[in-house]
């Protein structure tokens, strides 16, 4: 995909996020929107996957360790063709296969059930280890929040991955700088994230998580790196794409009302028109 196509797709993913959370009247738009470009790149460009065969044995795997941003993953999967985009409106509703947090037994394309913070990275490490044990070539990707890395289990997983040289694993850290109670450095600072991960034997790449050239370059470097897992620390804007949500911790886990929904969709449609007009 060209950057233009990726930007258009990411904007559609953002529209799906807003649609789903508005319909559910609850959920987590802020961190879904900050990671929308990453979700888009992974599922439309990077990963070896087939929406028609979600469980094919040699597929690349993705674990959404920051499981509360399920709307971001669901919107990406829907836009990628795993299930109808219209179904995003069933998010969190009784009887829907789109649970509040990812559930691998309910939703096509979800490789691991997550939601309780700190556990996803370990499961991704297990998947990557399975590939190594079997001599398989698939790669494993996981996305964690910058607040989530306050969980101790995350560092157990990082220590293991670094010590055992799990180089088919790429951990993406969504560094939007905000968590429920405020700024991550005010709540309990995990900084410096890059130096900590380097000390854990990671190949660390710091990028702007809304710049597709940098995202593309980072994954290429991750694939080339042997003997170390890669961590991509991406600087992002929480709520990216919806003006009133941007950089507001309050939009971590809140749904827009009808008026706010209209405003968000208008803004995203304008962005879509702008990207479509780009040469």
């Amino acid at each position: 995909m060209t950057n233009k196509e990726l930007k258009i797709t990411a904007t559609k993913v953002r529209k799906g996020i807003v649609e789903a959370v508005h319909s559910a009247k609850s959920g987590h738009p802020g961190g879904s929107l900050s990671a929308a470009d990453m979700f888009t790149y992974l599922y439309f460009e990077e990963m070896n996957i087939d929406p028609k065969d979600p469980k094919k044995a040699d597929r690349d795997r993705f674990v959404l360790s920051k499981g509360h941003t399920a709307p971001g993953l669901y919107s990406t999967l829907a836009n990628r063709g795993y299930f109808p985009v219209e179904d995003l409106k069933t998010l969190r509703k009784l009887g829907s296969y789109l649970q509040g947090h990812p559930c691998m037994t309910e939703t096509p394309g979800v490789d691991m059930s997550t939601g309780s913070l700190g556990q996803g990275v370990s499961t991704a490490v297990g998947m990557a280890l399975a590939a190594k044990l079997s001599g398989a070539s698939y790669r494993v990707y996981t996305l964690t929040g910058d607040g989530e890395i306050q969980e101790g289990q995350i560092w157990e997983a990082f220590m293991f991955a670094g010590a055992k040289k799990i180089d088919n694993l790429t951990v993406v850290i969504d560094n939007n700088g905000l968590q429920i109670d405020g700024k991550i450095d005010d709540v309990c600072s995990p900084y410096p994230i890059d130096k900590k991960l380097e000390a854990f034997n990671f190949n660390v790449i710091c990028i702007d998580g809304h710049d597709f050239d940098q995202i593309r370059d980072a994954f290429a470097k991750a694939k080339e790196c042997k003997g170390k897992p890669t961590a991509i620390i991406m600087k992002t804007t929480k709520g990216k794409g919806v003006s009133y949500m941007e950089n507001q911790a309050g939009w971590h886990g809140k749904a827009p009302n009808d008026e706010e929904y209209e405003q968000a969709m208008k803004e995203l449609d304008e962005q879509l028109a702008k990207y479509e007009a780009e040469v």
């Binding site: 691991m112 059930s113 370990s122 079997s134 157990e156 220590m159």
Partner: protein
């Protein structure tokens, strides 16, 4: 009579894993720096490439096992019961139980028979914790033969298993040609008409000893081994409750939430009858030799006999 053979069920676990490793290349074993104690070091020696030492990080080990299982491996997660079920409860619930993954948890050093290490390591709550997780099979084997059979059955049965093994050597009581292990099927060791004793784990041999003492007093007690606490064998429990109308349960576990509670769940709904739960009563363990602790907690044959006599 020859000498009674005694083997710790953690030894059985390690030996069974080696046998499994030979049969099934997908079997992998995970440890958190306790391979010597959990007896998985025998597997490590036989299959070094399929033994994963995660270091002292049980939560991560549990997650790694979950990930491995989604890719077709059959992971056996090994640690002390205190950590495998206690420290890891939420990881087991959310990363293994909720997605119903094919992970087998081998929890050794359960209960007071851990001995000298004391209460911090004597998990008396694991069965209660594990049986609340939807879809989790919970097995508490009574001896070497049953422990090995449980490991084999776990490997052949899809879904999460929690298996509870002990540190101390226990008598081999199932060494007979007609012994058959089936997940969820109780084993009747002694028929009886006056009462039934439902037991599991190390308490099965002790319950048999208690039944002998009761017989000397003219009391005919049935002894039934409920090795699978979940799914529990309702039919056999009801059959013996109806036959005897007096039920005792014996376990090396808290009486809150373990075998006794599971038996009461069945009987309260289907056939209310007087039940006395023998186990550990809302207290922690303590340091001492395993045998002395079994006596102190009245879980040896003599203690069980005395507790039953006091109730009838």
């Amino acid at each position: 009579m020859g000498d009674i053979v005694k083997i710790a069920t953690r030894e059985s676990y390690g030996n069974a894993l080696v046998e499994l490793g030979q049969k099934n290349p997908d079997v992998v074993v995970l440890d958190a720096d306790l391979a010597g104690a959990t007896k998985t070091s025998t597997f490590k020696k036989a299959f070094p490439d399929r033994h994963i030492d995660c270091g002292i990080a049980e939560a991560n080990m549990t997650g790694i096992a979950a990930g491995l299982s989604t890719c077709g491996k059959i992971p056996f997660v090994s640690s002390f019961a205190m950590f495998a079920a206690g420290r890891n409860f939420e990881q087991v619930r959310n990363s293994i139980g909720y997605p119903h993954l094919n992970v087998k948890i081998g929890a050794t050093h359960a209960g007071i028979t851990v001995g000298e290490d004391g209460a911090s390591h004597q998990c008396l709550e694991d069965v209660a914790l594990m049986r609340t997780i939807p879809g989790m099979t919970v097995i508490v084997p009574s001896d070497d033969i049953e422990a090995k059979a449980a490991v084999m059955a776990a490997a052949e049965t899809e879904g999460p298993f929690y298996m509870r093994f002990g540190r101390a050597a226990v008598p081999v009581i199932n060494d007979r040609p007609d012994y058959k292990f089936e997940v969820g099927k109780a084993v009747v060791l002694k028929d009886g008409t006056d009462m039934v004793i439902f037991a599991n784990g190390v308490c099965v041999a002790e319950a048999l000893g208690a039944a002998e003492k009761l017989a000397a007093d003219g009391i005919n007690a049935a002894v039934v081994n409920i090795h699978t606490v979940k799914p529990i064998d309702k039919d056999t429990i009801l059959e013996f409750a109806k036959k005897t109308n007096r039920v005792f349960t014996v376990e090396e576990h808290s009486v809150i939430g373990g075998l006794g509670s599971a038996v009461c769940d069945v009987l309260a709904e289907e056939y209310p009858v007087k039940v006395t739960k023998i186990g550990v009563y809302d207290r922690f363990g303590k340091s001492g030799p395993a045998g002395a602790l079994m006596k102190e907690f009245q879980l040896d044959a003599e203690g069980i006999y005395n507790q039953i006599k006091a109730k009838i």
